[in-house]
């Protein structure tokens, strides 16, 4: 990615678009535990999708599909908020 010069930046400390860290910062290496969803238990309530601080929950058409493991840093919020305990935090194998 080309680095912008000072006079090419937007005014203020703003990045004028949403979700801009997607695909830019890979935080997979931070992870000790990774979330794994049991789709049989999942009720597609989307609570994990709302609560994930890194937009790492993949969803489409009202269905929870899984995780973007490049964007997930393994914080475990999704597993914590899941009302039906459909997400397990599994130790990473290195």
């Amino acid at each position: 990615m080309k680095e912008q010069k000072w006079n090419e930046l937007p005014e203020g400390v703003v990045v004028p678009e949403g979700g801009n860290s997607q695909g830019t910062y890979i935080v997979a290496g931070w992870r000790t535990f990774k979330p794994v969803v049991n789709s049989e238990k999942c009720i597609n309530c989307m609570t994990c999708w709302i609560m994930c601080p890194d937009n790492a929950v993949q969803a489409s058409g009202g269905k929870m599909l899984g995780f973007d493991y490049l964007a997930c840093k393994g914080c475990g919020v999704c597993a914590e908020v899941c009302p039906v305990k459909a997400i397990d935090m599994v130790k990473e194998e290195r």
Binding site: L9, P10, V13
Partner: protein
């Protein structure tokens, strides 16, 4: 219209006329009455402002910042420890280009605990990136606060503004002041030019308060530093429009009898008035003296100051705050920097006076001018910094 009000009440009155969308404030002497009176206007339904009563100045400025970035016109008032407690957020507000207007009744900083007037609080905020306007009188404070809204919110500027006046000496003094009609104020400041990128515009999602490390921090700060170049012309433009409306004309600085002055005293806020009186008295005795008053302290009007002082033989800079362990007072350092590239530099000396509300009398000011004359005889100020009005 003429009114006789204490300056703090006058500031609350100005805020009522401005009717900001949000005011978040925490009371502190000597600025308490500003928000106290304003909260009464809110309670009485005179304004539709959302008043946020917070538990500290840290929270006050945090709430102001968030409201401003959400696209609201925002004001608050504070002083001394309160302004110091806002310090973190002051930097974030300026870098985030949040045009909050903060009224400051300038007061000393602890320790020792002191509630009276000096400039330590605003000087502590000197490098936070806020525009700073200073006022000699209640009239100037009123005129500055109205103009501050338009200066800060101008799309070419969009920086927060501190409106300063001396604690007690000015804040608690009753003056007869010429004020505008509500409708005139409303027309002068216009509706808030809400930036397209704000918290509440879901059509344009954005990330606020972003992280920028070794790869981007410096570019952000370089861009911010550049933006202050737009402030001076806008301050003058707004002053001209204000003069058309009121007949009261303001510049970046005020030059009082400088044309032929040998010795010039530089002052800010209420002491400038005492200095002018003293100049009149000394002029009757045949002394060629003058006063330079700084109205726009940040961004510092280097060219105008250099041009105003280049004809003088000796310049005495009065600081009502001190830079402990530093070379001299904060205003002195700026004046010296402004004169760096002037070929025929006047002799430069610094006086520290009026700390913690100590009176600055005409006798003190006369002594300051005499220090200038002494320096002319000797060829230099010796010592560079003299404390005036202190027991020794």
């Amino acid at each position: 219209m003429k009114v006789a009000l204490e300056t703090n009440q006058l500031m609350a009155f100005a805020m009522k006329q401005i009717e900001p969308h949000v005011v978040a404030a925490y009371p502190i002497t000597p600025s308490t009455e500003v928000v106290q009176e304003f909260s009464q206007y809110v309670a009485n339904g005179d304004v539709r402002t959302e008043f946020v009563a917070v538990e500290s100045e840290h929270s006050a400025m945090s709430a102001c910042l968030a409201a401003s970035l959400a696209g609201a016109r925002v004001m608050t008032a504070t002083a001394s420890q309160g302004l110091a407690f806002m310090w973190e957020m002051l930097h974030i507000a300026s870098a985030s280009r949040a045009p909050i207007v903060t009224i400051v009744a300038n007061r000393a900083l602890s320790a020792p605990i002191n509630i009276h007037g000096d400039h330590s609080d605003a000087m502590g905020a000197r490098d936070t990136g806020w525009i700073q306007l200073w006022a000699e009188s209640a009239q100037e404070a009123y005129d500055n606060v109205i103009q501050a809204i338009r200066i800060g919110e101008d799309p070419r500027v969009r920086f927060p503004v501190l409106v300063n006046y001396d604690g007690f000496t000015t804040s608690h003094a009753v003056e007869t002041v010429e004020v505008l009609e509500d409708e005139e104020v409303r027309k002068f400041i216009g509706s808030f030019p809400r930036p397209e990128v704000n918290f509440l515009n879901i059509e344009k999602p954005a990330s606020f308060g972003v992280l920028a490390l070794q790869d981007y921090y410096m570019e952000f700060k370089r861009a911010q530093a550049e933006a202050y170049k737009n402030v001076k012309p806008v301050v003058l433009e707004v002053a001209e429009a204000y003069a058309k409306l009121t007949g009261r004309k303001y510049g970046l600085i005020e030059e009082y009898k400088l044309e032929d002055a040998d010795v010039v005293l530089v002052a800010m806020n209420s002491a400038a008035g005492t200095a002018k009186e003293t100049v009149d008295k000394l002029r009757q005795a045949g002394k060629k003296v003058g006063v330079l008053k700084i109205r726009l302290f940040r961004p510092f009007p280097i060219e105008e100051v250099a041009s105003a002082l280049k004809g003088a033989k000796a310049v005495v800079v009065m600081d009502r705050a001190y830079t402990y362990g530093g070379p001299a007072g904060p205003l002195f350092c700026d004046i010296a920097a402004a004169l760096t590239n002037v070929a025929q530099r006047p002799l430069l000396g610094n006086v520290v006076a009026g700390l913690g509300g100590r009176d600055i009398t005409m006798e003190h000011v006369e002594h300051m001018f005499n220090l200038g004359y002494k320096a002319l005889e000797r060829g230099s100020f010796e010592p560079l910094v003299t404390w005036v009005g202190v027991r020794e």
